[in-house]
Amino acid sequence: MRFFNRIATVLTTLFGISIFVFIVLRVIPGDTITSSLGIETGVLTPEQIQSLREYYGIDKPLIGQYLSWITSFLSGDLGFSYSTGAPVWELTKPALLVTTQLALFGTILGVMMGVAVGMFSARKPGSARDFAGQFFGLLALAIPGFVLSTTIVTVMANRFQYFPNGYEYMTPVEDLSMNLQQMLFPSLVLGIAVAAPVMRTTRSALLETVDKDFVRTAYGKGVKPRIVRLRHVLRNSLIPIVTMTGIQFGYLLGGAVIVEKIFALPGMGRQILDAINKREYATVQSSIMVFAILFVTINIVTDWVYRKVDPRIK
Amino acid sequence: MSLKVDGVIKRYKVRAKKSTISALNGVSLEVKRGETLGIVGESGCGKSTLARLIVGLEPPTEGTLTWNEEVLGKSVRNSLKSHHSKIQLVFQDPYSSLNPRQTIGSCVAEVIKTHQLRAVDQVDSRVTELLSVVGIPMDMKNRFPHQLSGGQRQRVAIARALAAEPDLLVLDEPVSALDVSVRADVMNLLVDLKERFSLTYIFISHDLSMVRHISDEIAVMYLGRIVELGSWSEVLNSPRHPYTRALIDSIPDHTKIQGIDFENVLEGEVPDPANLPNGCAFHLRCPIAKPNCRIEVPALKVAKASHLVACPEVLK
């Protein structure tokens, strides 16, 4: 019964999201969208243009436009891109894969780094190493992703003449080695951004657990400190770390826009960016909606995992 | 001035479990000026709920509360307004009942200023007066609650309640959270205030020995109902209801009543107010329960002049 409640909540949120996306894009003054259809139709076939008219709900009142859009969207019609003539959904699928791969790698790297530094810091709170760890965490947060990326690109491309991202993008199936190389630096940049909050969470979770009685007992029993740290302290601190990881993954999916642009990865972020510049509103609208749906889904999954993992919540 | 509680029922819906808790199941009583009514019962019996209803924090689900012939508001917003703050409340927990960010002086002064009970230039002296009445020295006016002991905080809470110049003061377990050694002091203060200012109290406690010191009349509550009501000497010296007898017998130094041994009746946990037993709420623990007790809910009937009991067995 409670399950249905949650579904209802999620659906309401998604409904709200669709309205919000609609409003945000329709704020564009005048009939820029609709009028541009007359001029910038590019390479679209007449059928595609008609489909796009339906997608936008041209000549209908505002509510009609919204309904047109929503029905088109839900039936799989995400509009067409003027410049390529392809349906947006066809463009979205591969872009989504790229972004997901990037976000995944970034999260994994970030969690590894964040947990490592967090553990390092938490061992001796208040000490110089703790201070160093926290300082790096702060820097990781404060240095903008675009700065880091630009620096890497400059150094790698010019100093070391090594810049895999200068070549055409390869999916893992096409050329695994190239793909991994192309993913390396962008994942690193994203990973650093993720590492900061993960490090903070790890550190505080560890410090909290270490104080607990069962840990002191383990030390007292003479268990090797290393094992105590790994088996008892770390394992019990996992829950907040896992939750934070889920949240970060969700953010990475959307926050990778800049990194994708700099490293020329054809992901969702870049797709939206290009669409904005080319005024392809259908693409923008649909892509953002897809993003939001993904994000909400990930939140639900994280939440569900959290409930399963934490024995205290029943 | 009088307070009348008539057939009051209070139910809470528990959304998570889809059930309803009946905190109060038909409570009726009356308090007149200058009296002190003590309400006794274990936790879960509904005494705190009754306190909240009397004070106006929540409206009853059914039944009426009448204050000076005026029926108190039925909605949450109106119930407080009807009182004009003449019914005040002292909470159990001295640690959470005072605003941690306010000095105790300004805390009491705020009441006076809000109700404009004194001219602006007289507020300060009134605050000093109230604080000294409860035994707090003047130089503590600018202290914060966390700098005071539990007993001192309760005194401030009492002063604050008195600052509103109430007609009726409801005290919900006012000394239960205090150290045993401090309790007597605060209880004596309450008795003293009552006599000095002719106050009217409703004193709620699970502890009979506390209630005994201060009450004129005692009402015994069990699972949302009053099971016995009478003067303090009647109830304490000749208790009739099985539950009252069990309560009294469990007081260590009290002399035992002859007859059936009620001493060990109150072992184990109090039943869940969400799952009330049928018939008499007490029948599952009652040593003199009969088959009829499982079916019929006993009403409060007169056993002797102004001594009411809700138990058909005893009334025979």
Binding site: G16, F146 | L57, A157
Partner: protein, 284 residues
């Protein structure tokens, strides 16, 4: 009838090193921005001087010049001024609206609360940059439009931060006591509820300012927001990309500015958090 609280937390703040360092860094940046705002910079940020193009840091051009011979120092402080303006305006809006909605929702509960929470969930569902992107795209590139966009993105966090304490404190005995004492709702709100909301909000303001600066510079990096030839830190980094290999200063200094102000704001947030933490009040 002042509560003495207001004076002491400032004292506590100055006991924290990170707080002091942060405040110092932020003050430096604010001062530089004010210098720029009143056009007191030695050299006009827009002035092009092709002869002096691509010079490294020297006595005339403290941060060197870019490919148009513009002084990077002047442009940096001008860019900082823009970023700070946007950050301050957007966070002010977000905080005012967010706290208002959060308090209303927490206080009244019921359907009002539901709407407030649902609305903030909707906005939360979008990654910040993307949403800001889309809104700026719709609204325009002026600094006010950018501020509105960022404000919308960061309002939900203020709703959440304000609503939480209100929900908890509402149930506390001392709030119930003052209700029984007949205090009016506005009075209860201002004197008894808001002080508890104050602390987390102030900390959140510092943090949000740092995020706003990152978002604003991210947007201008992407070409939204401030347009050339105006100076904006993100735009400067973007313009420095092709030059970075041989004119490191064009990339370095704007980047350092951004980093310094973000670090500073975070440290200020930490300092505030420690200063306002009730756990330290027990030391009297």
């Amino acid at each position: 009838m002042k509560t003495v609280r207001e004076k002491t937390w400032i004292n506590y703040y100055f006991k924290s090193t990170s707080g002091i360092v942060g405040l110092f860094l932020v003050s430096v940046m604010i001062t530089l921005s004010i210098v720029s705002a009143f056009s007191l910079a030695p050299i006009d940020p827009l002035e092009q001087n092709p002869i002096s193009a691509l010079q490294g840091p020297n006595s005339t051009y403290w941060f060197g010049t870019d490919q148009f011979g513009r002084d990077i120092f002047s442009r940096s402080i001008d860019g900082m001024r823009r970023s700070l303006s946007v950050a301050i305006l957007s966070v002010s809006i977000a905080a005012l609206v967010g706290v208002f909605l959060g308090v209303i929702g927490g206080l009244f509960g019921g359907w009002i609360d539901n709407i407030v929470v649902r609305s903030s969930d909707v906005i939360f569902a979008f990654p910040a940059i993307l949403l800001a992107l889309a809104i700026v795209n719709s609204l325009g590139n002026s600094w006010i439009d950018t501020s509105i966009a960022i404000a919308i993105v960061y309002t939900p966090i203020f709703i959440r931060v304000a609503r939480g304490p209100v929900l908890t404190v509402k149930e506390m005995d001392y709030v119930k006591s003052v209700r029984v004492l007949g205090f009016s709702t506005p009075r209860i709100l201002i004197r008894h509820l808001m002080p508890n909301v104050f602390a987390p909000i102030v900390v959140q303001i510092a943090l949000s300012l740092s995020w706003a600066i990152l978002t604003e510079s991210g947007l201008s990096f992407l070409g939204l927001g401030t347009q050339p030839p105006d100076a904006s830190l993100g735009l400067m980094v973007s313009e420095a990309q092709p030059l970075a290999a041989f004119a490191w200063w064009a990339l370095a200094f704007p980047s350092i500015f951004i980093t310094v102000v973000v670090v500073g704001l975070n440290l200020v947030g930490d300092g505030l958090r420690d200063a306002l933490d009730p756990a330290r009040r027990s030391s009297g």
